[in-house]
Symmetry: D2
Subunit: 403 residues, 4 copies
């Protein structure tokens, strides 16, 4: 039955003029990075519901990440967070990962959990605090070298809670000085990705509040600096796919943090609240992959998941997110781009809208099952994982390391 | 000089037709309740910055609250939170408070921090969990009796994070059953105030999401149930003063949780981000105090502060909030209501707007200083507190009890 | 090929335990009302782009509506707007409609376009204006009787632009008096549906701002009054499906205005911006149709489209909206409700979310094509309409009647 | 009495260390431009309530603008909008203005009201439409030369209503080409100010959606291009004062469009909804005026009002806006900047917040009355205007020219 289903599906796409083999090839090449911190306990300011079986160290986090890669086949790298994943022996980490078919991905400095950072890290008016923050970022460059990572993922959580509390322009100068020090310390083949966020943990102002600020800093720094887009870090109503297209055109988007939200930065499972928005973002990314003027930028984007599962089992939640990202990407590959271009040039609104929506309405499960089979994977990764017994085995760990 | 300033100020108001003595009397009668939990550490999901000198128990929280009352003169009651303030001997608490010229105000059950509440408390599909939650609420009624409190302040933090996770209508039924049990347990002179919140800690849906839901439940329950308005629990763009006026007219507003926010439920110092909104809310409250059809409702509103100071010293932050509330109330008393009514009836938009705005633009500091002198208080409560040495003395406590 | 496609589709659903014949039956019974004003020119405050071929009167609007019904088969009624559709002879309108296989649906009074309504209609402080507004509503009841309509659809656009401009409580009283007059004039088998809207055309406050206000009025009036939900009339972040479920449970939802928006009340094609939200709303409606305690309410809901197409050809835009509504409904019928209930009761978050999402991910185009064939319709209504020559024929009308 | 009031006020400020003479000097030098279109009818998409006495041409608009300048003394320039203010003889306009003590300010091309612009102007896929739009902008440069204006104020209203409708990156390229043509046509002492807007009149995406896009274009074009900030063109929750400070630091803010809003782009009277936000913006502007590194940029900002009064009498509404802007500026001048800097450097949150808030709480009416007397103006501009008989005289015009 499944065989016929795919057959019917494939014929229909071929009829539409889609090069299904090319689509399958793209899906196979597509990768998503999972974050080490996504495997541990997390929660809200009101409560962290601790789960049994959480990883107690970076090695157990890698074990969990390896499960996600094992069943999805598209998550070969793991982002780490310093100091949460700090160890004495990064060779050991690298080897451990390698044995699991994993590599270390982006290195994330932590600039928000030291008591000294109460009023900011690199934007703090106190030069001693700024120095500490810069040194921590430089330490992360060192760690990146040790684990063969080429990406420093930078979330500056600095901001203020009240009007008057901080001098916006003075803080901007401190920030630029700090970023410059980091930039100069990067190897030529390294990149720093500058994240932005409208609010939280600071409530009145965030020093890097929107993509425009990340872009300004990245542009002034040079080619090794790019913008990182976290989907949940925008105001309600923002058109994220437009921002992505704009940055692609400027060659200044370097990475993604995937998650989803209903109102604030809820860090929910990717695509769980607004799957069409996720698809529309991938629609821009696929369009840019094809266009010679943006191809390089698009191909170098680091796709990363950044979530905070408060009530979900962590590994299944991560698998679901990865599958939802893959689904959105697969649907974006089915957009009939020649027809779309024609409709757009003719200002045929209804036709253009319809072409994009129809690709989204297509059920790509038969396709993805086929691709997984061809990759030697179980066509239903979630079921395969849940039946593997790993969830039960994890329980032996007892309670884990939170953040 | 200060004397002349007030003189000039007073003459000007008398010229405008304001009965200054009446205004002063109203200000003297106005009270605000502070929350025991507002004196301790709190933070965001990313970090709680612990401060030295935080209270270690309910008695030390009362000590701090007494300071706020001592310098502002308008905070004679303190809301408590169970189990945070749970003790074996509530007589002792009551006596301790009385010695500080304080009384216990609203009792707040906690329905969000037990591990069983991971998927909800009174809305949980598991009857055992609901039973536990109801019993906790009934325990709080008992405690209220012991501490002579007449108000149960109810924040149901229940909700879901994902589409499909919960059955909205089933959860509503569970909720209504639980509220009914609580309602029936109340003494005749007790009230339960039902809070609402658009989001957080649940992200996809909150079981009591807006005033309409609180109102529906309160109306179905009966006269002892009313709505509690927390200013920070609305969506961006909501006209809170309109909601307040609507509930006043329906006789269904029973309490306020004051705080302020820029985007989400930031729990910042009252009036620090949008002081005009705070004033406009008080404009409705003062208008309702005068109107015989709403006077009783208005006079029975429990004005309470509910904040979460992440980076501020707690007692000064609380004093500032109390002063800002008092300022907004004082300004609202200066609105020329006869002229306003005329302008409104004539649809004279510019004139009506101007009357309200002009009251807000009036600097009421000379008035409040005068009132404080007449109440035997220092005219500058913040300065007096900071110079009192209490902040330094508090440090002896070491680190406190967080939440 | 299409035959095989449906066959494969059907088998898969049957395997999942879905009663496909029942699903088909429900789809065939489902109806959506289109609005007469949706066939004419409309625009933004900046510009109305006039299109050639717009209807010049109610008869031509019915001609257009008949096309939508002809190709979709589910739009047998047309809402009218008075005075836009006012005529001397409603018998003639009724007959004209009947010849087109149409009936007149909801009657919509217009309380926002007379110069006297500058400062409000039924909430105006001027009793003469209120009287005029009430009389207009009563006139609409008369018209409803004449055209055999049982529904009065009430959008009160009243509000204020500035703090102080209006007396919230006085306006509420005026409003309640006016609604009472209307209510008392209704026949026993008539209903009045009270719409709400957060903002626009008034900017500071809207007299019926949210569902809670509509609900309060409807509840105080009695059984013939219910709430009308326009999806675009909420703040960003609102969980509309939760509101719908709440009102269903209270038996107080009577109608829907479908459209979509990105930020404000954009009145775009239904399901074009956030199709998952539309599906989740229908998920609640289908759930309520099955539940005996809510079935009656659910079955009596008037599903209506309310859009304002600024740049789209009108008939195709209406067809697309109708199809998107039908698609969302069909997908909601595919939710495995027994499994969902189990997962919800077990607090199995991942499973429950997955059940709902999977129904949405299902491509229902094969099903809808099949249903249309069984209804004697062209399986592709849009293509059939566009090839019918009607769009070209419409041009003969020249420019039409705007609003 | 008024004399004593000011005296007391002044002494208090001097005590605080404020250089009152300097403050008065700054207030006297401060200018705000009013827009010609702000004197005529406007409305919402639902209704334009036409008022009697509206200006019928540019000359009558200048008459009205002259009244605002006559009574406020700070509005010597008037922005014009082409083609609304198009005439055959700009010498005559200039002379007419000069006789009224006015000059022509910014020239605003109109790129949204021609039927050809239905799918965009400079971003339209049709090269003929883009050419027309560019030629219109170049025509405006010519007009600017004729009326001695040095500023082209550019609002590109282009955007799309649906996903897929437009090719974001292609449209961006069209836009950049068009802006370049305009830029190259500017004289060396001219500036083009690039406005941005999150949404409306297009609903899904706006081609220049936020400050980051304006900034990117302005930076790539060169020194004659800067960003124009319209306060109402941001998402809810945006920290506008932070954006302003950021752009000041980059030397890239060139102009302001003042107005206010509750939810969307309501174009209400400046400072009527959130006066504290307006003050905080001026707090940044005053801070930048003092700082040598930003002084030039700050001093060259064109302060302009851009409103759309739906229900207010136009001249009084404009006067009120101008007075509210002046009030916010005056309060910002009273911030104790030395003390603020100290508190900020010490991370004394409460103190820093208090310094800023206290300046806002100061009633500056005595100061402004004094300044007006010294400028030879009536201390109460609104009263003076209303008593002048001009409003009555305007009625003779009958109905005016809308837009």
């Amino acid at each position: 039955m499944a065989g016929i289903e795919y057959k019917v599906w494939e014929e229909k796409q071929i009829e539409r003029g889609i090069d299904v083999e090319k689509v399958k090839k793209s899906i196979k090449e597509f990768k998503v990075e999972t974050p080490s911190w996504g495997y541990g306990d997390s929660g809200t300011r009101f409560k962290v519901f601790k789960q049994i079986g959480m990883p107690r160290n970076i090695f157990e986090k890698l074990d969990d990440a390896a499960q996600v890669h094992k069943y999805t086949g598209i998550c070969p790298t793991v982002a780490i967070h310093i100091p949460w994943d700090k160890t004495d022996d990064y060779e050991k980490v690298k080897d451990y990962a390698a044995n699991l078919n994993l590599k270390i991905g982006a290195v994330n400095p932590n600039l928000f959990q030291e008591d000294e950072y109460k009023f900011g890290s690199v934007c703090n008016s106190d030069p001693k605090v700024r120095k500490k923050a810069v040194e921590h970022m430089l330490e992360c460059v060192e760690i990146a070298r040790k684990v063969d990572s080429k990406i420093l993922s930078l979330w500056i959580a600095d901001g203020t809670n009240y009007p008057g509390q901080g001098d916006f322009r003075a803080r901007k100068h401190y920030l630029e000085e700090s970023l410059k020090e980091l930039y100069d310390a990067l190897d030529d083949d390294m990149r720093m990705l500058i994240e932005y966020k409208t609010f939280e943990p600071a409530f009145y102002h965030t020093d890097i509040a929107d993509w425009g600020m990340s872009y300004t800093f990245a542009t002034k720094l040079g080619e090794k600096a790019q913008v990182l887009v976290d989907i949940g870090h925008h105001f309600q109503g923002a058109n994220v796919e437009h921002i992505v297209a704009f940055l692609l055109d400027e060659g200044k988007i370097g990475g993604f943090h995937f998650n989803n939200r209903k109102y604030a930065d809820d860090d929910l499972i990717v695509g769980s609240i607004n799957p069409y928005e996720l698809f529309l973002i991938f629609n821009e990314l696929v369009s840019a992959e094809i266009d010679p003027s943006t191809r390089n930028t698009a191909k170098n984007i680091a796709y990363m998941i950044d979530q905070s599962h408060c009530i979900e089992p962590k590994v299944p939640a991560m698998i679901q997110s990865v599958l939802n990202v893959q689904t959105a990407y697969a649907k974006a590959l089915l957009v009939d781009r020649d027809e779309l271009k024609k409709a757009q040039e003719n200002n045929d609104v209804m036709r253009a809208e319809s072409i994009v929506r129809c690709a989204f309405e297509t059920d790509v499960r038969p396709l993805l099952e086929k691709v997984r089979e061809e990759m030697g994977l179980n066509p239903d990764p979630m079921k395969a994982y849940l039946e593997s017994g790993y969830e039960e085995k994890k329980l032996e760990r007892g309670y884990g390391q939170g953040w």
